[in-house]
């Protein structure tokens, strides 16, 4: 809330060996952030899924085929964040206090340049007007404003929950939020405990320690955007997904 606040670098650690691809995180995310169900015409290239679990395999045929599930959300890039400096009208910014990359749908003009800039395809465009089945709009979360057609949106670590935590702290006369009060919906929902969330700047947190593990990696690290989502796996072929694509033997994702 104020300048004397400790500066946080919120990040996430994801244990791919634990993720069973159930999709609870995607559902919790959609519920929390008022993301409407897709219209009939939508497909996996036109949907809105702030966190999307990819089904990744080792490119081998049965019975050598092995599958892993990789949740991909906004990687909250920490160094010259690709989407921030391309936006023509300051609809994207990085909060210096939390390190969270924010997207302002009300400022967005829908040019989609940021989506071109994002190497992780973690940004989504509203191709349709938001539509909920009659009555279902009663279940919308008051802490997140529904977006309109024609704008870009993406994961912001459930910022509504950060606001709520702030509010709670303020009620108690504090400026610092209690770490337990701020956990994104996907992390809270993950039944296998594959997702962890916390302040990377504080070395005592679980995520900071996870990030330091030898089997930990980040996607497309060489691009140099310093993402704050740290993946890890004990399987060698899984760790290879971090690097650039290898076209040979590549078949489309199952669907």
């Amino acid at each position: 809330m104020t300048a004397q606040n400790r500066v946080a670098r919120y990040g996430m650690s994801i244990d791919i060996d634990k993720c069973n691809g159930c999709g609870a995180c995607m559902m919790a995310c959609a519920v929390e952030n008022n993301i409407p169900p897709a219209p009939e015409a939508a497909n996996d290239r036109r949907g809105v899924t702030w966190i999307r679990v990819y089904k990744v395999d080792n490119h081998l045929a049965y019975p050598e085929r092995r599958t892993a599930f990789v949740p991909v959300l906004c990687q909250q890039c920490g160094h010259d964040t690709p989407c921030v400096h391309v936006c023509p009208q300051q609809a994207v910014d990085v909060d210096p206090q939390t390190g969270i990359v924010g997207q302002m749908p009300e400022r967005c003009l829908g040019c989609r340049y940021c989506m071109v800039a994002c190497p992780y395809h973690a940004r989504y465009f509203n191709w349709w007007d938001p539509k909920w089945p009659a009555g279902m709009e009663k279940t919308l979360n008051p802490d997140v404003a529904p977006r309109m057609r024609g704008v870009v949106e993406k994961c912001n670590f459930c910022h509504g929950r950060w606001h709520a935590a702030q509010q709670k702290a303020a009620a108690a006369g504090q400026r610092e939020i209690d770490a337990a009060d701020y956990v994104p919906a996907c992390v809270e929902a993950c039944p296998t405990g594959a997702l962890r969330f916390g302040d990377l700047a504080d070395s005592s947190t679980e995520v900071a320690q996870d990030a330091a593990r030898p089997e930990s990696f980040r996607l497309l690290e060489k691009i140099g955007t310093e993402p704050k989502i740290h993946y890890r796996s004990r399987r060698d072929w899984v760790r290879e997904i971090a690097s650039a694509p290898r076209p040979e033997g590549k078949d489309g994702l199952r669907g």
């Binding site: 634990k18 069973n20 691809g21 159930c22 999709g23 609870a24 995607m26 559902m27 919790a28 959609a30 519920v31 008022n34 993301i35 169900p37 897709a38 939508a42 497909n43 996996d44 036109r46 949907g47 809105v48 899924t49 999307r52 990819y54 089904k55 081998l60 045929a61 049965y62 019975p63 085929r65 092995r66 599958t67 599930f69 009300e106 007007d129 938001p130 539509k131 909920w132 089945p133 009659a134 009555g135 279902m136 709009e137 009663k138 279940t139 919308l140 979360n141 008051p142 997140v144 404003a145 529904p146 309109m148 929902a189 039944p191 296998t192 405990g193 078949d251 489309g252 199952r254 669907g255």
Partner: protein
């Protein structure tokens, strides 16, 4: 008139307009209007405004599957806006599955059954009862046995002569995963819907999981060992692991490398192990006796106590037990999705002029076959309880307290059946709660404060109050008993030469409504299979001239279904992967064989 004059007047008009334009720019009007149109785009028609108000947490239990996970609902002015697990819960450990997380959307599902011919149905029912001929039976098919309302049905069927209570076979045992060091699972979807998710994942760290199944399901992907066997060769593998046949023999039949089988065999020998099967009644379960798992890992299933008066109840029968062409009136409670009994198992049991009434919220399941579909309440509208899950050892009693009033006019199946049978109109849940309280056994856990108190210190009313406001009764795990029956021999499906492919359900799919948001997992991503998709191997695709993403038809002995095929080298030849569900169950029936041809 002459040209110059005309032009001057026209020119003056232009000048006037020019002056107007110039002047307008010097007023706030144009700028404000430009701003307003931009602001209008923030809330133009169709963008809903979430209701504001007091935010409170309320507790209940999820009834979407027998796990009955504890749920904390975040409510705005009482209306649930999001669901989460209850962390301190000893069984569900704060976990929810994707279906459970969006359960509060179900009442508003556009495909929900919104009204039904209640009067006509009741008339038809009483007619059927009064005019039924000799030997004709009145039956209730309960897809979710073990609930309190199941007892109501059994009592009702006992009260009516010729009443018969039918249910899909329930395992007579439960599994204590904490006791096992090695779990050998023949296709049991341990990490995708088997038992209570939270409970399985909590125990997962402490046992080796050996997954034995033809395709790499979510469970196989996370198993310590996955033995990809040829479909239908489970028994051969089991025999080898049990030492009845040679490993070489098993390797030949199942197509799995000898050393892999050997390693698993050693693992089983090295410590306490348990065998699980996809079908809880599979004969493979009997092997547990030789693994000394009975009474340790595989224990007798325990249910919460019931009032004495309820003991006079009809026995639990499987569909097969019902006499053929005898059921005159069949009442199907499909309000909670459970084990689906394929229609072709039911049909032969119906009398010529049978009346079939189904209580359901979805038109997908038996609604496709019944004469009368009566709208049933959905989670979280109904006051229900949930029977013990397969992985809960101690008896438990938990109530799914309604979070909202039914949004459509619904009929309460239990109440209706009780009325038909002339049972006293009471609240069975309360009666059972009191019966449990009378025993004084076990503990009461309240979710709001996470405290658990011995039943002796709780009054009957407080007990009832806590159960409804978020609480759970857990019996003390007394001495574990060995279960009575495990598996029973099943007739192996007759092979069809014209149906070369083995149907394997890669997804766990219960019937009933799903949140519209499931589109995130099915259409907006490729995470889960939709019901109209099949996956086949490149070899089978080539031989049938099918390319990935192409329309084709899934043909079985019982029918055809138009589907979209995905070709994936991760699928073995001779297998067609499908998403489960009632439609698929009706389509495949007992013989799991099919053929995929171009549309």
């Amino acid at each position: 008139m002459s040209l110059p004059q005309m032009t001057t007047t026209r020119r003056n008009l232009l000048k006037f307009a020019g002056g107007g334009a110039a002047g307008a720019l010097l007023t706030p009007a144009p700028w404000r209007l430009i701003t307003d149109t931009a602001l209008w785009s923030e809330n133009w028609p169709g963008i809903p405004r979430p209701a504001r108000g007091e935010i409170r947490a309320r507790f209940t239990h999820c009834t979407l599957c027998p796990a009955g996970c504890a749920v904390r609902a975040r409510c705005v002015n009482g209306q649930p806006v999001s669901l989460a697990g209850v962390k301190p819960h000893p069984i569900s450990h704060g976990a929810l599955c994707p279906w459970g997380i969006a359960g509060h959307h179900l009442p508003y599902h556009p495909a929900r059954v919104r009204q039904g011919p209640v009067k006509e149905a009741l008339a038809a029912v009483s007619r059927a009862i009064s005019q039924r001929g000799a030997g004709e039976r009145i039956a209730v098919l309960d897809l979710r046995p073990g609930r309190t309302v199941s007892w109501t049905y059994r009592r009702a069927m006992a009260a009516i002569d010729d009443g018969i209570y039918l249910a899909p076979r329930q395992p007579a045992y439960s599994i204590d995963l904490t006791e096992a060091q090695t779990v050998v699972s023949f296709g049991a979807p341990l990490s995708d819907g088997w038992g209570t998710p939270g409970n399985v994942f909590a125990a997962r760290a402490n046992f080796r999981l050996v997954q034995i199944e033809p395709v790499e399901t979510r469970t196989a992907a996370l198993a310590d060992v996955w033995l990809p066997i040829r479909p239908g060769t489970e028994t051969a593998m089991a025999a080898a692991l049990a030492g009845e046949t040679t490993i070489a023999e098993a390797a030949r039949v199942t197509g799995v490398k000898e050393e892999a089988i050997g390693a698993v065999k050693e693992a089983i020998a090295s410590g306490p192990a348990v065998v699980l099967a996809e079908d809880p009644a599979s004969p493979l379960m009997n092997w547990n006796a030789r693994l000394h798992a009975l009474g340790r890992t595989v224990v007798a299933r325990r249910e919460a106590p019931i009032p004495e008066a309820w003991k006079k109840a009809a026995p639990v029968n499987e569909m097969a037990a019902a006499p053929d062409r005898a059921i005159r009136l069949l009442l199907i409670d499909e309000s909670l999705p459970g084990g689906y009994v394929p229609w072709q198992d039911i049909q032969p049991k119906l009398a010529a002029d049978a009346v079939v009434v189904v209580f359901s919220s979805s038109s997908e399941g038996y609604a496709r076959h019944a004469q009368y579909v009566l709208p049933a309440p959905v989670y979280p509208e109904a006051a229900e309880d949930i029977g013990p899950a397969i992985d809960t050892v101690a008896a438990v009693f938990r109530i799914a307290a309604p979070l909202i009033a039914a949004v459509v006019p619904v009929v309460n199946p239990g109440g209706l059946v009780a009325r038909i049978a002339g049972l006293p109109q009471t609240d069975p849940l309360r009666e059972r709660a009191d019966a449990i309280h009378k025993t004084g056994r076990g503990m009461l856990l309240s979710y709001a404060d996470g405290k658990s108190t011995p039943m002796k210190e709780v009054t009957a009313d407080d007990f009832w109050k806590t159960l409804n406001q978020g609480g759970c009764w857990m019996d003390s795990t007394g001495k574990k008993a060995a279960p009575h029956g495990l598996g029973r021999s099943v007739t192996s499906p007759t092979p069809h030469d014209d149906l070369p492919l083995m149907v394997v359900a890669a997804e766990v799919r219960r019937g009933g409504l799903e949140s519209p948001l499931m589109s995130k997992l099915e259409r907006e991503s490729n995470l889960r299979m939709t019901a109209n998709r099949v996956v086949i191997s490149p070899a089978d695709a080539r031989s049938n001239g099918i390319e990935s993403g192409g329309r084709c038809v899934l043909e079985t002995a019982c029918g055809r279904l138009s589907v979209v095929a995905t070709v994936d080298a991760g699928v073995p030849a001779g297998v067609v992967e499908v998403a489960g569900g009632p439609r698929m169950a009706d389509l495949c029936g007992a013989s799991q064989r099919a053929r995929v041809v171009r549309a």
